[in-house]
């Protein structure tokens, strides 16, 4: 083990900034990161052991115990549960003979939960040793576990291959694209090189002006004007960096997954245009760990682009040098926040930074950096190709262009849709074949829970902004139990913990909604939840804490009757559940409680 670890560290230049990659390699090689490994890393990198541990312990996919030869990470986010996760879990537990959260005594199979893996259009889905398994059911699980017991390689368990690039020999994935609607900007026919060639014939200022004139705004959710961001960054002196945010962690979004496979060249071309615009020579694609299955393909695309002189030195003979590396994540939603993404790319804990300074001033390695979403970079390529006024004519007055939506949940046609901004929710529901809709969760858990009387509102940055996640929730769902509690559990798990308020409130609010779901809630609890949500929103460092109470506050606002029906109108009700509390001791002594039945 020791020799191997030493060689992994050396392969990464014995560089502390590459600690993420070192840990990823060690985890992949041994199935865990041992205390011996931590000690070797600390010695060789000349940092303390607690420093290694602080990064190691931050990420979901790093473990200090072996995860098992076959490690199943089952998505337990909302839509997976809606599509029948419970059955799948039950079958896995039956077949493997263990509960989720543990591994078999022989170390063969480990069963674990994980947050949304970007497959909401084909749930229930799980990752097994990094390979995606979609549309699971009891029968498939039986086959998978039998294959495991027979020692089959995980790759060979993939029977049916998906469409498009998913079938590429470097991927051979069962993932389906589910592209339901193409639009003129992103999913229309694309030829590599037109956008970058055009950009390189003008100067960098003109490129920025074109992006500004297009009125393109960031597609990651916040909607910041892209041209303005690039302009700020280009004004700073010294080395610059381009970061592409492919963390796609918001539950319910999966459109970047499709872009990274079907439009990988376009993403990298957009990053290169960005590099030219701000004067960068280096770009990083920060790819979420759940998308490891794409990595070999993406590396191959980069190599192909180097061979064709779209990357590397003197690109297209225009004297511009630019190259891109891929940084893998290790399982942390908060790393999608741009400054946390930078920290993580530097090998650290994914804790969002305090601002100022902003990334455009001091970003990756303290240098001016632009961070943009995958779809933003794709849009830039088309803007360069077709011009700002062509682009600007699409969409609404405040929101130019098209938007990719990831639509899932209770509808007939889940998948990716490229629409012009301005479509109403009613039109969207008709498009996806959804009926008897209780609510649409717009923009994921951090967005809003929209009631039917507002379905005439428009999907646009000035009305209903979204990074693309749209979850349709049918009448038959228990909104508070199935949806709100699931979302609050997600935020409680994903808070980085830096801010007192985000660390504690998400837990407190999670417990409060559980109390109501369990039938112990009183009127005052609802008022408290609203007031506490407000304090949380006002007192956190990053967007996670600013939005994490939205599942509660927007449902109290829009579905108050559901709360009223569940809470008692009394002054005090303990959330202490006697029956639950004595359960463990009853079990231990083999008795059952008479009094508290």
């Amino acid at each position: 083990m020791k020799e191997k670890i030493i060689s992994i560290i050396k392969a990464h230049g014995t560089d502390t900034a590459r600690l993420m990659d070192i840990l990823l390699r060690v985890q992949a090689e041994f199935g865990y990161v041992s205390t011996e490994a931590v000690s070797i890393m600390a010695t060789m990198l000349h940092i303390s052991e607690v420093d290694v541990v602080q990064t190691l312990s931050f990420y979901h996919f790093f473990t200090t115990d072996a995860v098992g030869k076959y490690a199943v990470y089952m998505n337990n986010s909302l839509v997976s549960c809606m599509m029948g996760m419970k059955e799948v879990v039950d079958e896995f537990e039956k077949q493997a003979g263990i509960k989720f959260g543990s591994k078999t005594p022989d170390g063969l199979i480990g069963l674990y939960y994980t947050a949304c893996i970007g497959m909401n259009d084909q749930e229930p889905a799980a990752l097994i040793n990094g390979i995606v398994f979609t549309e699971l059911n009891r029968e498939k699980v039986r086959n998978i576990v039998a294959d495991m017991k027979a020692g089959k390689s995980v790759n060979d368990m993939v029977a049916v291959i998906g469409d498009g690039i998913n079938a590429n020999p470097l991927m051979k994935s069962m993932v389906k694209n589910n592209i339901r609607k193409s639009g003129p900007v992103i999913l229309a026919d694309y030829t590599l090189g037109i956008g970058i060639a055009k950009a390189l014939t003008t100067d960098s200022k003109s490129v920025i002006k074109e992006v500004k004139d297009s009125n393109l705004r960031g597609r990651g959710g916040a909607g910041f004007p892209t041209g303005m961001k690039w302009d700020f960054c280009s004004r700073e002196t010294g080395v610059h960096y381009v970061l592409c945010n492919a963390d796609e962690g918001e539950p319910g979004t999966f459109k970047d997954r499709v872009l990274l496979t079907e439009r990988a060249y376009m993403v990298f071309e957009g990053m290169t245009i960005g590099g030219y615009a701000i004067g960068a020579a280096e770009g990083i694609l920060y790819l979420r760990n759940e998308y490891t299955y794409m990595k070999a393909y993406l590396e191959n695309v980069l190599n192909d682009m180097r061979t064709k002189n779209f990357l590397g030195n003197n690109i297209l003979g225009k004297g511009f040098n630019f190259d891109i590396r891929i940084q893998m994540g290790a399982g942390a939603y908060v790393c999608g926040e741009e400054s946390a993404l930078i920290e993580s790319s530097e090998g650290k804990r994914g804790e969002p930074r305090n601002r100022p300074p902003f990334p455009v001033q001091k970003g990756y390695k303290g240098k001016p950096t632009i961070v943009n979403n995958v779809e933003t970079f794709c849009s830039v390529v088309r803007i360069s190709e077709k011009g700002a006024s062509w682009y600007n004519a699409i969409g609404t007055s405040e929101s130019a262009g098209t938007k990719l939506l990831s639509i899932s949940g209770d509808c007939k046609l889940p998948g990716v849709y490229e629409i012009a901004w301005g479509m109403s929710i009613n039109e969207m529901l008709e498009m996806v074949g959804a009926e008897n809709v209780q609510t649409v969760q717009v923009a994921g858990p951090s967005g809003i829970c929209l009631p039917p009387k507002q379905f005439d509102r428009k999907i646009a940055l000035e009305d209903l902004p979204t990074g693309g996640s749209m979850i349709v929730i049918g009448q038959h769902r228990d909104l508070l139990k199935d949806v709100v509690l699931n979302f609050m559990e997600f935020f409680a798990d994903e808070s980085c913990g830096s801010c007192v308020t985000c660390r504690s409130f998400n837990m407190i609010l999670r417990n409060a909604i559980e109390k109501i779901v369990d039938g112990h809630g009183i009127k005052k609890d609802v008022e408290n939840m609203l007031a506490w949500s407000e304090i949380l929103r006002k007192t956190t460092r990053c967007g996670l804490g600013q939005t994490s109470s939205n599942p509660i506050s927007t449902t109290i606002k829009n579905f108050r009757e559901l709360y009223d029906a569940r809470v008692k109108d009394v002054d005090y009700q303990s959330d202490f559940d006697m029956q639950k509390s004595v359960l463990a001791s009853c079990e231990a002594v083999g008795r059952s409680s008479v009094v508290h039945e």
Binding site: N354, G497, V500
Partner: protein, 234 residues
């Protein structure tokens, strides 16, 4: 030459230098904005959020926001007094604090803020979290029940070669403060004392000194927290 700027806090005219952190600029003008994680001249952590103020209508942490010309800051408004009280209450329910038995009682910033904001019973349910005490290093007890994750120790205490002796472990509600056993073994008495002094609560305790100062002679026994700043400038 550093540029002089003018701004207001709750209507009071203040002066400072451009780029100076708002919380320090306020203190220089005799205005106390409460802090738990902030220490002057140290890279801000911005983690305790107790210094939250409203600047030109936006909520900001005063310890991470540079003072700018013309800023209108809201500090001691009913809204922020309540938010600060809530944060103090939150820290009390999150950890396990038994002040009467605590070595830091009377010298503790969290306890002092509890008095300042007249906390009676926390509005939040107690978490009763189980936290391990670490007494394995020669000079220090790490009484994790009292940690408020201010990162002061992480930022200040290093070994001779600049390596971290303290660091975070985990995230979210599994967060804990971690001490490097190998490096902690090399700590001098001075460094251990310093670690205890900068810890705003009773989490880092130097061994063998316990309750050195009797009640009546402790930091906040006679003087409420922040009064030094408020009394310095009339």
């Amino acid at each position: 030459m550093s540029e002089t700027i003018k701004f207001t806090i709750d209507g009071k005219e203040c002066q400072g230098t451009k780029g100076q952190l708002l919380v320090d600029a306020a203190a220089d003008n005799g205005v106390y904005i409460p802090v738990l994680c902030h220490m002057r001249d140290l890279i801000p952590a911005g983690s305790c959020r107790i210094c939250t103020v409203k600047v030109n209508g936006r909520n900001m942490a005063a310890c991470t926001t540079p003072a700018e010309e013309g800023m209108a800051v809201e500090n001691n408004t009913p809204e922020f007094l309540d938010i600060r009280k809530a944060i103090v209450e939150m820290l009390f329910v999150e950890g396990n604090h038994f002040c009467p038995a605590c070595e830091k009682s009377g010298n503790c910033d969290l306890q002092a803020l509890g008095y300042k904001y007249q906390m009676m019973v926390p509005r939040f349910p107690y978490a009763f979290e189980r936290r391990e005490i670490d007494a394995t290093t020669p000079k220090i007890f790490l009484e994790r029940n009292r940690c408020i994750f201010c990162k002061r120790c992480v930022r200040v205490i290093k070994d001779e070669e600049g390596r971290n002796i303290f660091a975070f472990k985990g995230r979210g509600n599994t967060l804990e403060i971690n001490i490097d056993r190998k490096l902690a073994a090399t700590m001098t008495d001075e460094i251990a004392q310093k670690a205890m002094d900068i810890c705003p609560v009773g989490c880092i305790l130097k061994k063998e000194i316990g309750f050195v100062n009797p009640i009546g002679q402790r930091k906040y026994d006679t003087m409420p927290i922040g009064s030094d700043i408020e009394n310095n400038h009339q």
